[in-house]
Symmetry: C2
Subunit: 409 residues, 2 copies
Amino acid sequence: MNAEILAVGTELLLGQIVNTNAQYLSEQLASLGINVFYHEVVGDNKVRLTKTLHTALDRSDIIITTGGLGPTNDDLTKEVIAQAMGKKLVLDQTSLDRITQYIKKLNIPMAKTNEKQAYLPEGCIILPNDNGTAPGCIIENDKNVVIMLPGPPREMKLMFSSYVKPYLERKSSTKLVSRVLRIFGIGESELAQRYMDLLENSVNPTVAPYAKEGEVTLRITAGCKDEQEGLALIQPVIDKLKSEIGDFIYSCDDELMEEVVVKKLAEKNMKLSCAESCTGGMIASLITNVSGASKVFEQGIVTYSNSAKMQYLNVNAKTLEKYGAVSEQTAREMALGIKNASQSDIAVSVTGIAGPTGGTAEKKVGLVYIAVADSDGVSVREFNFTGSRDRVRRLSCLNALDMVRRRIK
Amino acid sequence: MNAEILAVGTELLLGQIVNTNAQYLSEQLASLGINVFYHEVVGDNKVRLTKTLHTALDRSDIIITTGGLGPTNDDLTKEVIAQAMGKKLVLDQTSLDRITQYIKKLNIPMAKTNEKQAYLPEGCIILPNDNGTAPGCIIENDKNVVIMLPGPPREMKLMFSSYVKPYLERKSSTKLVSRVLRIFGIGESELAQRYMDLLENSVNPTVAPYAKEGEVTLRITAGCKDEQEGLALIQPVIDKLKSEIGDFIYSCDDELMEEVVVKKLAEKNMKLSCAESCTGGMIASLITNVSGASKVFEQGIVTYSNSAKMQYLNVNAKTLEKYGAVSEQTAREMALGIKNASQSDIAVSVTGIAGPTGGTAEKKVGLVYIAVADSDGVSVREFNFTGSRDRVRRLSCLNALDMVRRRIK
């Protein structure tokens, strides 16, 4: 089965928002074994939407639309699709009741225009919106399936996962099972050399790499009759990769680095603290964005100034004077300082020059020292990153978290 | 002039990356007064790319493609477009020299396949790539302009701003000048009521609202002969909005809230510090992501545990016991505590329940207290946010920064 994803909304064509819906849906459809051949975006314009829809009906089995289900006159997705497929829009009382209830809960008056949202193509499958007012729907005929979803990602995603995914699973003959490995600390090209045979010769499962900033993701996908068979097909590939590159693999389940760190700390019942200079709270923020972080995260200190480094972390004034704030020695004392102050089991510190200003001939923008301290002592690494301030900060965080991860074991 | 943006790349159809290029280009084209009527994404497939291109050539004056200019056999944008427009690909020695130089600088061997990137359609305008190997190009004929840009955003954006934007400016007869107002603390519907007349009746400049999480953006755009005339047309609208909603407008130049806060602090020569519980370092991270933050940011403390709140912020054990960590009283003591400890001019504190767990019948997930302290005293506000952990944290940060911004004046 081939699909295309058609987003409707002038705000996308003006560049006011990014079409993240297309990415989410593509990823979901890929995992269901459905090929996506086209994405399109068209504005809130009847003529262009109609033309685009006819092209899509011609060339694709499944068409998923996002957007244009709102209450205003601009919102015309349902109207255009119903007309193109020869269906009338009829009032669905259940949907109207749901909309009324939803608006009542928000304590705002129900607008007359909201009623429009309860009119749906005759004979369609109605998709309830559990995060908003606009219901979605599915129209089927001999040739096509058209699935209309709302535009706001919160509403769209919940509707897709609750109602559309199960529907498509029933339609699809083969099942695809994937596992996603996340790898850090080894470049894509070096990795490619080591797994080239897997990548080129593996038919089922397939292995697809994707390089992101500072890390590589490998998606291993098996076509199978059920999940158990799929996982069994995938496991030997994971075992082989593990034997090749060991703990460069930080997750076999597409987790974020900070999720892995929090999980490992919780398993070992360890508490972490951090002292940040150039990352300025980003490490603490990443860790505390993981639900349940309060069990493992003790405290974080952002010491931008030298005086704060001395006051909270007991960094020696002489160290700062002799080696500077961005130095191996200062990083070491910062890690030890926060570990002692917080009485945590493990501590990480970062000091560096994120740029774009602040670099010198000796210490260039991108120079970063990261230290990790635990009961065994302290280790420090020096990094020389390139790129924007934001990039230097993000790579510093990833490396700091990776150093913590490796130290926990 | 009408344009469409055609991205080429199977990775987009698999959902491995988001098409941020389309958003960037749309925004840029809108500012040049060029209407974008379609976005499309097609995979690395000759048949489908050719068909899509022919549709585009039929309906659009300008077609901008991104991606498919790489060295591998998958990369076929240039080949397909040259064929469709009846052009041969010919070697451009200057481009080959640039590619050779670029690869030499990276200290990696030049692959034979890189040479392919120096073959360009005969008679095209060549666009140098200052951030990579693949040159872009422009083909013009009587009806269309086709502009081919590389896929990686870093390369694409630099090429667009350096070479394509000046090219399109020369082609475009009217100039558009925009200013973007950012508004916080007033809902879109309330705002709409107040500026409805502006929105509906303003022809030049036009006023376009866009609601984001927690804030509203208004783009005011004037068609004009030069920038000076454009700005003069826009200013009365800004003046009117300022008289209506005053300092709900936090920027007239599309700045981020944290950029405005850092700028204002620097103007007043003030130092900020923060004490964070549920936001866990996000406020510090936002502030320190602004270049030059070191001049105004003193220190930040992430006190997740009660003991850290007492240790660093001198929060009274009795306060924590009687009112709890998430309370007006604790927020107040946190703000005063970090202000005293850091000797900064202004301090902000946040304590709350970000969820998804941790809520009780009395104190629900989303309950957040934010306090700001300066030499005039402390003020505290209570918030009841809804939504995910991430949303509660982000809204907390925005409100905390807005409270600081309002206090600086």
